[in-house]
């Protein structure tokens, strides 16, 4: 890979060349109920070349055929020539300290299709034993190798590997599900237990009345209702252009003093961690909101120059400029345990997951989410599943009304957060 990349970078000395090569293999098992539908092996390769002329005109070309890279380089250059000049373009990143981050346990590279089969069997047995039915199961293992290089001498490569499992179970038409990506020891038992537990505690759902209640959002619901809108409002480009609710508010109080959020690509074994971003800028940790005060947004190299800041190492792709994405989004833990939080609620709602997260409006912050898994809290105890309903409000108002943040963070994706209790949220039955 490195040899090929050197050849490509050296071919054109006048223009700014950036290169990304990804090569992946994956083995997976897909189940339909308790039967294996098919095993799948796949191998893929993709090369992306971005050419930027000295005046900022840019073109991008991608291909699955790395042997015809000369054609791809020519195509990107041709596109750059018909593009528009960009006076904000200030060159490519230079060699940056590449963070050294452990991404996975090397033993995971040797997983076979039979190993996956054994994990599946363990889960199928647990499901059978719990007297719930299988609804769907997917297991996959694989690795991909990524190389990022540019004509300023940046050349970084890394390998990622992991085992992913997702399980859905069902009883009386009520589902339960769980999914994890493991980058250390795979734990199929944990996935099965979570799915079974969710299914069982969601049985016999009952309605509750429309009203304003204290609402506890658990990990998945918190990410869908609050997390995604915040990340899009913290996009450095939207901030700079005045297109974000947070524009011109750096240094101002935007949330409850209980809320602190960082973007951290350097967490060992973090699911959103990396050593360098898609432009080759080293992974960093960036404080976004500290005790309710807006501190920074997320920046790629181009936007950082535009806003006269430093790249936070959050370039997500070479396909467009800018392209900004979060790594691991971490909500700082609070002091209250889960049981303390729940026992303090007289009448409230605990939301595990919502459906239709894409129904929220990231620009205005308004949301209106149908509940997928939610439970009633009465006199300090979770009493029953709620049959249906919606929660609605505005993300930017809601983050000012935090009552308590849990002390036990959960890492299930690149979003790491404990549960949060919000003062009053509208619930519609």
């Amino acid at each position: 890979m490195e040899e090929l990349s050197n050849k490509i970078i050296k071919r054109d000395k006048r223009n700014n060349i950036e290169l990304g090569i990804t090569e992946s293999t994956q083995t997976s098992l897909v189940y339909e109920k308790d039967k294996l539908l098919y095993p799948h092996f796949s191998h893929s390769k993709r090369m992306i070349i971005r050419v930027t002329l000295p005046d900022g005109r840019t073109g991008v070309a991608t291909t699955s055929r790395t042997d015809t890279w000369e054609e791809t380089l020519k195509q990107a250059t041709k596109l750059a020539r018909i593009s528009e000049k960009d006076r904000h373009f200030k060159g490519l990143p230079v060699e940056d300290t590449k963070a050294s981050v452990k991404l996975f346990e090397p033993a995971l590279l040797d997983m076979s299709v039979e190993d996956l089969g054994a994990h599946a069997k363990l889960m199928l047995d647990m499901v059978k034993h719990a007297k719930v039915s299988m609804h769907g199961l997917w297991l996959g293992t694989g690795h991909h190798r990524v190389l990022v290089a540019n004509s300023n001498g940046v050349s970084n490569s890394h390998i990622r590997a992991g085992v992913s499992m997702s399980l859905d179970v069902i009883k009386n038409n009520i589902t339960g599900s769980s999914g994890h990506m493991f980058v250390k020891q795979p734990n199929p038992g944990k996935v099965a237990k979570e799915a079974i537990d969710e299914c069982l505690k969601s049985q016999n759902p009952k309605p509750i009345q429309t009203g304003t209640y204290p609402v506890v959002l658990e990990h998945e619901a918190l990410q869908d209702v609050i997390g995604e809108t915040l990340v899009s409002a913290l996009n450095g480009y939207a901030l700079h252009k005045g297109d974000s609710f947070f524009s011109h508010k750096i240094g101002e109080k935007v949330a409850s003093p209980k809320l602190s959020i960082v973007d951290d690509a350097t967490i060992e074994y973090g699911l959103g961690s990396y050593e360098s971003d898609s432009e080759g800028v080293g992974a960093k940790k960036t404080v976004l909101i500290e005790k309710g005060v807006l501190k920074s947004g997320l920046y790629d190299y181009y936007t950082a120059n535009l806003a006269k800041r430093k790249s936070t190492g959050n370039c997500s792709s070479l396909t467009a400029r800018p392209a900004i994405g979060a790594s691991n989004v971490v909500i700082a833990r609070g002091t209250a345990s889960r049981s303390d939080i729940i026992s303090g609620i007289k009448k409230g709602v605990l939301v595990s997951s919502v459906s239709g997260a894409h129904m929220s409006n990231p620009v205005s912050g308004d949301f209106s989410n149908e509940l997928a898994k939610a439970y009633a809290i009465e006199n300090g105890e979770v009493t029953h599943a709620i049959s249906s309903g919606m929660i609605s409000g505005n993300v930017f108002d809601t983050i000012k009304k935090i009552n308590a943040i849990g002390s036990e963070p959960i890492q299930k994706s690149a979003f790491i957060a404990p549960l949060i209790l919000f003062k009053g949220m509208q619930f519609i039955a």
Partner: protein, 450 residues
């Protein structure tokens, strides 16, 4: 095409080779944000080995022997039994675009996208930012199977979009218009730029002053685009045979029974230019129109080879995959709701209080529980038979089977809605809807009390 001898080890096999080129243009205001050209070539080799499926995907399209050998290796884990019965097909089909996106000067295409952006920005000074895109894909597929089939298909798809971000004081709203169809640049070029710019900005400005929707149960009239998405989400997905096999559908065990108001006839099929149209599915099965509901009675399911084998049914040409890296599963093509007898005014005029909703901003179903939720791009309050105050961020939710019985009026005229991508089981495929206005006597409208 020389098939290696190792292929004889399989009870059934098929091979799909896909070779595609694509280009995309994206501009923000008057600056170019991305200008890209892409190509990809890859294949799948899929087989039934000792009674169960195995599949290999690779971008190495030269070494077929290797792909078949890898597939045999996967046979070490045993799967569910299938028995594929299939007819041999030999055909060559080509979509011919009026204006070939890959023949037309790219610079000219870029100028038109920049003009759209400039025109949109110029409509009103409250428009802060405009994004516009144009993208085209040409794909060439070759399909072979153990029954001796040989298919060659060439297809073009083109999509464009424009979105305007408007701001007044602290209130910001974004409006989006666009279309995606099977065909070439005519999809974009035939659309008048000024009209498109004005429509988009008008929507953004209306949203700035729109009120939150009342949170309650109300009668609803939807335009064709939204009725199309409702039927796609709530009914079409429930008729996909894998959902029936998994027990994840309200349509399970309902064949021959009344599942909707007798006004409803719904099918999946061919509509010219629709983003979801194709002649053969990814498994080399010819697509024909499949009636799903006739006069309120359930009449059919949508099948892939796998589900047809398991349910002892005929495949319906709905075995689709996102790419050669994905296993084909039952998917819709174009969802077609048969027109009724009402004009839009007739549907609205006897509603005392209700909602008129237009366009879709996405939707989702929880199939096992029979619930649906979808969002309207725009909505208005209906008061005493008249469309009045604009509403924003309206979502609509209910129980699928109950709601289908509550459809009490269907419009006269169908529209081919803006095509789009539908996601299921991690696969995204192009789909379309062809539907008229409809009225539902009661739907839960989500919003918030002011």
């Amino acid at each position: 095409m020389k098939i290696p001898r190792i292929a004889n080890e399989f009870d059934y096999w098929d091979m799909l080779i896909s070779d595609s080129i694509a280009q995309n243009l994206a501009v923000e205001d008057q600056s170019v944000k991305s200008l890209g050209a892409h190509n990809a070539k890859a294949l799948w080799v899929r087989g039934v080995y000792k009674g169960s499926w195995v599949m290999v995907s690779s971008q190495n399209t030269k070494n077929l022997q290797d792909a078949f050998r890898e597939a045999l290796k996967l046979g070490r884990v045993r799967g569910a039994n299938v028995h594929i019965k299939k007819q041999r097909v030999k055909d060559s089909v080509t979509v011919t675009p009026e204006k070939n996106p890959f023949g037309e000067d790219l610079e000219k295409q870029l100028k038109r996208v920049l003009l759209l952006s400039k025109t949109t920005k110029g409509v009103d000074k409250r428009v802060r930012r405009v994004f516009a895109t144009l993208a085209s894909v040409k794909s060439k597929n070759e399909f072979y199977d153990s029954e001796g089939s040989m298919l060659f298909e060439t297809d073009y798809k083109t999509m464009y979009s424009v979105s305007a971000l408007a701001r007044e004081g602290d209130v910001m709203q974004r409006a989006h218009k666009g279309d995606a169809r099977t065909g070439g640049l005519e999809v974009f070029y035939d659309k008048g730029i000024v009209g498109l710019a004005q429509d988009t900005v008008a929507m953004a400005l209306r949203l700035l002053h729109a009120k939150h929707a009342p949170a309650k149960t109300l009668p609803l009239v939807c335009d064709g685009a939204l009725s199309g998405v409702f039927f796609h989400e709530a009914v079409g997905h429930a008729c996909e045979a894998d959902a029936i096999l998994e027990g994840a559908s309200v349509m399970k065990g309902m064949m021959g029974k009344a599942v909707a108001s007798p006004l409803v006839s719904f099918s999946d099929g061919l509509v010219q230019h629709s983003f979801g149209s194709y002649q053969y599915d990814s498994e080399g099965v010819k697509k024909t129109t499949t009636p799903l509901i006739k006069d309120g009675v359930l009449t059919g399911y949508l099948h892939s080879l796998d589900t047809a084998s398991k349910m002892k049914a005929e495949p319906t040409g709905n075995g689709r995959s996102q790419s050669v890296y994905h296993f084909p599963i039952p998917r819709m093509s174009t969802s077609i709701l048969r027109p009724g007898t009402f004009t839009k005014d007739e549907l609205i005029r006897d509603i005392k209080e209700g909602v008129y909703a237009a366009g879709s901003s996405g939707g989702q179903v929880i199939p096992t529980e029979g619930k649906f939720v979808f969002g309207a791009q725009e909505a208005w309050l209906i008061k005493d038979g008249e469309i009045t105050t604009p509403l924003r961020d309206v979502s609509l939710t209910g129980n699928i089977l109950k709601t289908l019985q509550l459809i009490d009026g269907i419009g006269k005229k169908s529209v081919l809605s803006e095509g789009g991508f539908c996601g299921k089981a991690g696969q995204s495929v192009p789909v379309g809807e062809f539907a008229p206005h409809m009225r539902i006597s009661k739907v839960v409208v989500g919003g918030r009390a002011e």
